[in-house]
Amino acid sequence: MTPTNKSNEIVHDALLQATELATQWTFDVKQNAFGWLRLNNTESLRPAAKALAENGARLCTMTAYVEERGENSNKKAIAYHFALANTVVTVTVPLYTAGCDTPVAVPSITSWFRNADWNEREFHEMFGIDIVDHPNPKRLFLDERLDAGIMSSLIPFSAMVHGAATRNLWEQVMAAKGVDITGSDGSYGLENPHGAPTDISTPPIEEPTFTPVSATAPENGN
Protein backbone atom coordinates (compact mmCIF):
# COMPACT_ATOMS: atom_id res chain seq x y z
CA MET A 1 0.00 0.00 0.00
CA THR A 2 2.29 2.87 -1.09
CA PRO A 3 0.93 6.02 0.54
CA THR A 4 -0.69 8.32 -1.99
CA ASN A 5 1.96 11.00 -2.15
CA LYS A 6 -0.44 13.84 -2.69
CA SER A 7 1.64 15.63 -0.07
CA ASN A 8 4.61 16.05 -2.44
CA GLU A 9 2.44 17.64 -5.09
CA ILE A 10 1.14 20.21 -2.54
CA VAL A 11 4.67 21.09 -1.51
CA HIS A 12 5.85 21.23 -5.12
CA ASP A 13 3.17 23.73 -6.13
CA ALA A 14 3.59 25.83 -2.97
CA LEU A 15 7.35 26.15 -3.47
CA LEU A 16 6.98 26.78 -7.17
CA GLN A 17 4.54 29.60 -6.47
CA ALA A 18 6.77 31.04 -3.71
CA THR A 19 10.17 30.84 -5.38
CA GLU A 20 9.49 30.19 -9.08
CA LEU A 21 11.86 27.19 -8.80
CA ALA A 22 10.89 23.59 -9.45
CA THR A 23 11.77 20.93 -6.89
CA GLN A 24 13.52 17.76 -8.04
CA TRP A 25 12.07 14.56 -6.53
CA THR A 26 13.73 11.27 -5.70
CA PHE A 27 11.94 8.27 -4.20
CA ASP A 28 13.22 5.56 -1.88
CA VAL A 29 12.41 1.86 -2.17
CA LYS A 30 9.09 2.33 -0.35
CA GLN A 31 8.00 5.27 -2.56
CA ASN A 32 8.59 7.88 0.17
CA ALA A 33 9.27 11.15 -1.65
CA PHE A 34 12.42 13.25 -1.09
CA GLY A 35 12.35 16.77 -2.59
CA TRP A 36 15.53 18.72 -3.39
CA LEU A 37 15.31 22.47 -4.09
CA ARG A 38 18.31 24.81 -4.46
CA LEU A 39 17.54 28.50 -4.00
CA ASN A 40 19.66 31.14 -5.72
CA ASN A 41 20.09 33.49 -2.76
CA THR A 42 19.20 33.91 0.90
CA GLU A 43 16.34 36.36 0.29
CA SER A 44 14.07 33.72 -1.17
CA LEU A 45 14.45 31.58 1.99
CA ARG A 46 11.76 33.45 3.93
CA PRO A 47 8.97 33.10 1.32
CA ALA A 48 9.85 29.40 0.91
CA ALA A 49 9.68 28.89 4.68
CA LYS A 50 6.38 30.78 4.84
CA ALA A 51 4.91 28.67 2.05
CA LEU A 52 5.96 25.46 3.73
CA ALA A 53 4.69 26.58 7.13
CA GLU A 54 1.28 27.37 5.67
CA ASN A 55 1.06 23.86 4.22
CA GLY A 56 1.70 22.32 7.63
CA ALA A 57 5.27 21.24 7.06
CA ARG A 58 7.37 20.63 10.20
CA LEU A 59 10.97 21.85 10.30
CA CYS A 60 13.06 18.71 10.73
CA THR A 61 16.49 20.26 11.00
CA MET A 62 19.12 22.41 9.27
CA THR A 63 22.52 21.25 8.01
CA ALA A 64 25.25 23.78 7.37
CA TYR A 65 28.15 22.44 5.32
CA VAL A 66 31.20 23.41 3.31
CA GLU A 67 30.66 22.64 -0.37
CA GLU A 68 34.13 21.38 -1.31
CA ARG A 69 36.78 19.78 0.87
CA GLY A 70 39.29 22.56 -0.02
CA GLU A 71 41.80 23.85 2.56
CA ASN A 72 39.58 26.63 4.02
CA SER A 73 37.09 27.23 1.26
CA ASN A 74 34.33 29.65 2.20
CA LYS A 75 31.71 28.13 -0.11
CA LYS A 76 29.21 27.36 2.68
CA ALA A 77 25.58 26.40 2.25
CA ILE A 78 22.70 25.51 4.55
CA ALA A 79 20.21 22.73 3.80
CA TYR A 80 16.81 23.20 5.52
CA HIS A 81 14.93 19.90 5.85
CA PHE A 82 11.15 19.98 6.24
CA ALA A 83 8.95 16.96 6.92
CA LEU A 84 5.34 16.64 5.75
CA ALA A 85 3.59 13.25 6.16
CA ASN A 86 5.77 10.89 4.07
CA THR A 87 7.71 13.64 2.25
CA VAL A 88 11.04 15.24 3.19
CA VAL A 89 11.85 18.50 1.36
CA THR A 90 15.39 19.85 1.49
CA VAL A 91 15.73 23.54 0.62
CA THR A 92 19.40 24.43 0.11
CA VAL A 93 20.56 28.04 0.47
CA PRO A 94 24.07 28.85 -0.86
CA LEU A 95 25.83 31.42 1.32
CA TYR A 96 28.32 32.73 -1.18
CA THR A 97 27.87 35.05 -4.12
CA ALA A 98 29.87 34.46 -7.25
CA GLY A 99 32.24 37.35 -6.60
CA CYS A 100 33.21 37.78 -2.93
CA ASP A 101 34.09 34.92 -0.66
CA THR A 102 32.83 36.32 2.67
CA PRO A 103 29.77 34.25 3.77
CA VAL A 104 26.42 36.04 3.62
CA ALA A 105 24.22 36.29 6.74
CA VAL A 106 21.10 34.14 6.68
CA PRO A 107 17.64 35.29 7.87
CA SER A 108 16.17 33.48 10.87
CA ILE A 109 12.96 31.50 10.33
CA THR A 110 12.04 31.21 14.01
CA SER A 111 8.90 33.27 13.35
CA TRP A 112 7.34 30.30 11.55
CA PHE A 113 9.19 27.38 13.12
CA ARG A 114 9.69 27.59 16.89
CA ASN A 115 12.28 24.74 16.83
CA ALA A 116 14.51 26.62 14.38
CA ASP A 117 15.94 28.51 17.40
CA TRP A 118 18.38 25.83 18.59
CA ASN A 119 19.24 24.73 15.02
CA GLU A 120 20.28 28.24 14.03
CA ARG A 121 22.28 28.80 17.18
CA GLU A 122 24.12 25.56 16.48
CA PHE A 123 25.26 26.34 12.93
CA HIS A 124 26.06 29.87 14.09
CA GLU A 125 28.60 28.49 16.57
CA MET A 126 29.77 25.52 14.49
CA PHE A 127 30.21 27.24 11.12
CA GLY A 128 30.44 30.91 12.12
CA ILE A 129 27.45 31.87 9.91
CA ASP A 130 25.68 35.02 11.14
CA ILE A 131 21.91 35.00 11.54
CA VAL A 132 19.69 38.04 11.00
CA ASP A 133 17.34 38.88 13.95
CA HIS A 134 17.59 35.64 15.90
CA PRO A 135 15.94 35.79 19.41
CA ASN A 136 19.14 34.98 21.38
CA PRO A 137 22.17 33.95 19.29
CA LYS A 138 24.15 32.65 22.30
CA ARG A 139 26.45 29.62 22.19
CA LEU A 140 24.61 26.31 22.45
CA PHE A 141 26.97 23.34 22.76
CA LEU A 142 30.44 24.52 21.79
CA ASP A 143 32.56 25.61 24.74
CA GLU A 144 33.62 29.26 24.75
CA ARG A 145 37.26 28.27 24.70
CA LEU A 146 36.86 26.64 21.26
CA ASP A 147 36.89 29.00 18.31
CA ALA A 148 33.54 29.44 16.56
CA GLY A 149 33.27 27.90 13.08
CA ILE A 150 35.45 25.00 14.19
CA MET A 151 33.78 22.71 11.68
CA SER A 152 34.17 24.96 8.69
CA SER A 153 37.94 24.73 8.45
CA LEU A 154 39.06 21.24 7.47
CA ILE A 155 42.04 21.05 9.88
CA PRO A 156 41.65 23.57 12.68
CA PHE A 157 44.91 24.80 14.19
CA SER A 158 44.40 22.41 17.11
CA ALA A 159 44.83 19.33 14.90
CA MET A 160 48.54 19.80 14.29
CA VAL A 161 49.40 20.86 17.83
CA HIS A 162 47.26 18.33 19.66
CA GLY A 163 47.58 15.57 17.12
CA ALA A 164 49.69 13.65 19.54
CA ALA A 165 46.76 11.99 21.37
CA THR A 166 46.59 8.79 19.34
CA ARG A 167 50.30 8.74 18.50
CA ASN A 168 51.62 8.88 22.08
CA LEU A 169 49.06 6.37 23.28
CA TRP A 170 50.30 3.93 20.65
CA GLU A 171 53.91 4.72 21.43
CA GLN A 172 53.32 3.72 25.02
CA VAL A 173 51.51 0.54 23.96
CA MET A 174 54.41 -0.48 21.77
CA ALA A 175 56.97 0.66 24.33
CA ALA A 176 55.30 -1.65 26.84
CA LYS A 177 56.27 -4.46 24.42
CA GLY A 178 59.78 -3.03 23.94
CA VAL A 179 59.22 -1.80 20.37
CA ASP A 180 60.24 1.85 19.93
CA ILE A 181 58.15 3.54 17.25
CA THR A 182 58.61 7.19 18.26
CA GLY A 183 60.40 8.04 15.04
CA SER A 184 58.36 6.23 12.40
CA ASP A 185 55.25 7.87 10.98
CA GLY A 186 53.47 4.59 10.32
CA SER A 187 49.77 3.87 10.66
CA TYR A 188 48.41 4.94 14.03
CA GLY A 189 45.04 3.35 14.35
CA LEU A 190 42.85 6.30 13.42
CA GLU A 191 44.94 7.28 10.39
CA ASN A 192 43.02 9.27 7.75
CA PRO A 193 43.84 8.02 4.22
CA HIS A 194 43.89 11.64 3.03
CA GLY A 195 47.13 12.02 4.93
CA ALA A 196 45.83 14.68 7.26
CA PRO A 197 46.34 13.56 10.86
CA THR A 198 42.87 12.85 12.15
CA ASP A 199 43.36 14.18 15.64
CA ILE A 200 41.52 17.43 16.12
CA SER A 201 41.84 17.87 19.81
CA THR A 202 41.51 21.04 21.73
CA PRO A 203 44.05 23.81 21.30
CA PRO A 204 46.56 24.09 24.21
CA ILE A 205 44.38 26.19 26.50
CA GLU A 206 45.95 27.80 29.56
CA GLU A 207 47.39 25.22 31.94
CA PRO A 208 44.33 23.39 33.46
CA THR A 209 43.34 24.96 36.76
CA PHE A 210 43.72 21.60 38.55
CA THR A 211 47.19 20.15 38.49
CA PRO A 212 46.89 16.33 38.43
CA VAL A 213 46.81 15.12 42.00
CA SER A 214 49.17 12.27 42.71
CA ALA A 215 47.41 9.35 44.36
CA THR A 216 49.14 9.48 47.73
CA ALA A 217 49.58 13.20 48.43
CA PRO A 218 46.20 14.44 49.77
CA GLU A 219 46.05 17.98 48.45
CA ASN A 220 42.82 19.40 49.74
CA GLY A 221 42.66 21.52 52.84
CA ASN A 222 43.76 19.83 56.05
Partner: protein, 177 residues
Protein backbone atom coordinates in the same frame (compact mmCIF):
# COMPACT_ATOMS: atom_id res chain seq x y z
CA UNK B 1 -1.75 -0.23 46.57
CA UNK B 2 -2.77 -3.81 47.42
CA UNK B 3 -1.61 -4.99 44.00
CA UNK B 4 1.89 -3.82 44.89
CA UNK B 5 1.70 -5.45 48.33
CA UNK B 6 0.77 -8.69 46.55
CA UNK B 7 3.87 -8.25 44.37
CA UNK B 8 6.04 -7.76 47.47
CA UNK B 9 4.54 -10.87 48.99
CA UNK B 10 5.40 -12.84 45.88
CA UNK B 11 8.94 -11.43 45.97
CA UNK B 12 9.35 -12.48 49.57
CA UNK B 13 8.09 -15.99 48.79
CA UNK B 14 10.31 -16.46 45.74
CA UNK B 15 13.48 -15.47 47.58
CA UNK B 16 16.39 -13.51 46.13
CA UNK B 17 16.99 -13.69 42.38
CA UNK B 18 20.55 -12.39 42.72
CA UNK B 19 22.95 -14.27 40.49
CA UNK B 20 25.85 -15.31 42.78
CA UNK B 21 28.49 -13.82 40.50
CA UNK B 22 31.63 -13.23 42.53
CA UNK B 23 31.23 -16.66 44.12
CA UNK B 24 30.18 -18.62 41.03
CA UNK B 25 31.19 -17.99 37.39
CA UNK B 26 28.56 -15.97 35.50
CA UNK B 27 26.82 -17.34 32.41
CA UNK B 28 28.26 -16.04 29.12
CA UNK B 29 26.25 -16.55 25.92
CA UNK B 30 28.38 -18.04 23.18
CA UNK B 31 27.69 -15.14 20.84
CA UNK B 32 29.05 -12.66 23.41
CA UNK B 33 31.51 -10.15 21.86
CA UNK B 34 34.53 -10.22 24.19
CA UNK B 35 38.27 -9.71 23.79
CA UNK B 36 39.69 -9.69 20.20
CA UNK B 37 41.84 -12.70 19.24
CA UNK B 38 43.91 -13.04 16.03
CA UNK B 39 44.93 -16.31 14.37
CA UNK B 40 48.33 -15.40 12.81
CA UNK B 41 48.32 -18.26 10.28
CA UNK B 42 45.13 -17.07 8.67
CA UNK B 43 46.14 -13.40 8.49
CA UNK B 44 46.90 -12.25 4.95
CA UNK B 45 47.97 -8.72 5.93
CA UNK B 46 45.20 -7.06 3.85
CA UNK B 47 44.56 -4.41 6.60
CA UNK B 48 40.76 -4.49 6.14
CA UNK B 49 40.44 -4.74 9.92
CA UNK B 50 42.63 -1.66 10.37
CA UNK B 51 40.45 0.21 7.86
CA UNK B 52 37.23 -0.81 9.63
CA UNK B 53 38.33 -0.21 13.22
CA UNK B 54 36.51 2.88 14.60
CA UNK B 55 38.41 2.82 17.85
CA UNK B 56 41.80 2.78 16.11
CA UNK B 57 42.70 -0.34 18.12
CA UNK B 58 44.53 -2.24 15.36
CA UNK B 59 48.03 -1.40 14.19
CA UNK B 60 49.78 -3.33 11.40
CA UNK B 61 53.36 -2.26 10.75
CA UNK B 62 56.32 -3.92 9.01
CA UNK B 63 59.08 -4.71 11.46
CA UNK B 64 62.48 -3.06 10.93
CA UNK B 65 64.10 -5.94 9.06
CA UNK B 66 61.00 -6.15 6.82
CA UNK B 67 60.92 -9.90 7.38
CA UNK B 68 57.33 -9.78 8.63
CA UNK B 69 54.84 -7.41 10.23
CA UNK B 70 53.72 -6.68 13.80
CA UNK B 71 49.98 -7.01 14.31
CA UNK B 72 48.93 -5.26 17.56
CA UNK B 73 45.43 -4.96 19.04
CA UNK B 74 45.18 -2.60 22.03
CA UNK B 75 42.09 -3.76 23.97
CA UNK B 76 41.75 -0.50 25.89
CA UNK B 77 40.45 1.34 22.83
CA UNK B 78 38.65 -1.58 21.15
CA UNK B 79 34.86 -0.96 21.14
CA UNK B 80 34.10 -4.70 20.63
CA UNK B 81 31.93 -3.82 17.62
CA UNK B 82 32.82 -6.89 15.55
CA UNK B 83 33.34 -4.99 12.27
CA UNK B 84 36.84 -6.50 11.88
CA UNK B 85 35.50 -10.02 12.38
CA UNK B 86 32.69 -9.45 9.87
CA UNK B 87 34.86 -8.06 7.06
CA UNK B 88 38.03 -10.16 7.52
CA UNK B 89 38.25 -12.27 4.32
CA UNK B 90 39.93 -15.23 6.06
CA UNK B 91 38.26 -14.95 9.52
CA UNK B 92 41.73 -14.49 11.01
CA UNK B 93 40.51 -11.93 13.58
CA UNK B 94 37.68 -13.08 15.87
CA UNK B 95 36.09 -11.97 19.16
CA UNK B 96 36.40 -14.42 22.05
CA UNK B 97 33.79 -14.52 24.83
CA UNK B 98 36.28 -13.45 27.52
CA UNK B 99 34.99 -10.42 29.42
CA UNK B 100 37.22 -10.54 32.52
CA UNK B 101 39.04 -7.35 31.60
CA UNK B 102 39.25 -5.25 34.78
CA UNK B 103 42.91 -4.40 35.38
CA UNK B 104 44.95 -1.85 37.28
CA UNK B 105 46.45 1.28 35.80
CA UNK B 106 49.97 -0.24 35.67
CA UNK B 107 48.73 -2.76 33.08
CA UNK B 108 47.00 -0.13 30.96
CA UNK B 109 49.46 -0.33 28.08
CA UNK B 110 50.16 -4.05 28.54
CA UNK B 111 46.48 -4.81 27.89
CA UNK B 112 47.19 -5.52 24.24
CA UNK B 113 47.64 -8.58 21.98
CA UNK B 114 50.90 -8.55 20.01
CA UNK B 115 51.42 -10.90 17.07
CA UNK B 116 54.40 -10.88 14.74
CA UNK B 117 53.56 -12.57 11.46
CA UNK B 118 56.49 -13.58 9.19
CA UNK B 119 56.59 -12.93 5.45
CA UNK B 120 57.51 -15.85 3.22
CA UNK B 121 59.82 -15.61 0.22
CA UNK B 122 58.03 -16.20 -3.10
CA UNK B 123 59.27 -19.47 -4.72
CA UNK B 124 59.50 -17.72 -8.06
CA UNK B 125 60.99 -14.25 -7.56
CA UNK B 126 61.82 -14.23 -3.82
CA UNK B 127 59.52 -11.22 -3.11
CA UNK B 128 58.05 -10.87 0.39
CA UNK B 129 54.56 -12.35 0.33
CA UNK B 130 52.02 -13.70 2.75
CA UNK B 131 51.21 -17.30 1.86
CA UNK B 132 47.70 -17.58 0.44
CA UNK B 133 45.56 -19.24 3.15
CA UNK B 134 44.23 -22.59 1.94
CA UNK B 135 40.51 -21.77 2.11
CA UNK B 136 41.01 -18.45 0.28
CA UNK B 137 42.97 -20.32 -2.41
CA UNK B 138 40.23 -22.96 -2.55
CA UNK B 139 37.68 -20.24 -3.27
CA UNK B 140 39.95 -18.62 -5.89
CA UNK B 141 40.72 -21.81 -7.77
CA UNK B 142 37.37 -23.50 -7.24
CA UNK B 143 36.52 -23.83 -10.92
CA UNK B 144 39.94 -24.94 -12.28
CA UNK B 145 41.19 -28.14 -10.55
CA UNK B 146 44.90 -27.36 -10.21
CA UNK B 147 47.54 -28.86 -7.98
CA UNK B 148 47.42 -26.40 -5.09
CA UNK B 149 50.59 -27.05 -3.13
CA UNK B 150 53.24 -25.28 -5.26
CA UNK B 151 50.90 -22.49 -6.42
CA UNK B 152 50.44 -21.26 -2.87
CA UNK B 153 54.13 -20.46 -2.53
CA UNK B 154 54.12 -17.99 -5.47
CA UNK B 155 53.51 -14.24 -5.35
CA UNK B 156 50.58 -12.98 -7.46
CA UNK B 157 52.76 -12.08 -10.47
CA UNK B 158 54.49 -15.48 -10.44
CA UNK B 159 51.07 -17.13 -10.18
CA UNK B 160 49.95 -15.28 -13.32
CA UNK B 161 53.09 -16.49 -15.12
CA UNK B 162 52.39 -20.04 -13.97
CA UNK B 163 48.74 -19.77 -15.09
CA UNK B 164 49.80 -18.38 -18.50
CA UNK B 165 52.32 -21.21 -18.89
CA UNK B 166 49.63 -23.74 -17.97
CA UNK B 167 47.29 -22.25 -20.61
CA UNK B 168 50.09 -22.44 -23.20
CA UNK B 169 50.74 -26.13 -22.41
CA UNK B 170 47.04 -26.99 -22.61
CA UNK B 171 46.76 -25.12 -25.96
CA UNK B 172 49.74 -27.17 -27.33
CA UNK B 173 48.09 -30.44 -26.26
CA UNK B 174 44.85 -29.35 -28.05
CA UNK B 175 46.79 -28.59 -31.28
CA UNK B 176 48.56 -31.95 -31.10
CA UNK B 177 45.19 -33.88 -30.97
Amino acid sequence: MFRFLKLLGKNLAQGPSTDPFPAKEAHTPERFRGRVVVNPEQCVGCRICHHMCAGGAIRIEDNEEKTGYNFTVWHNTCALCGMCRHYCPTKAITLSTDWHNAHTQEDKYDWAAHYSIPYLACAGCGAHIRMLPPQLAARLYAHSPVDMTDLLKLCPSCRQLAAARREEISNDTHEQE
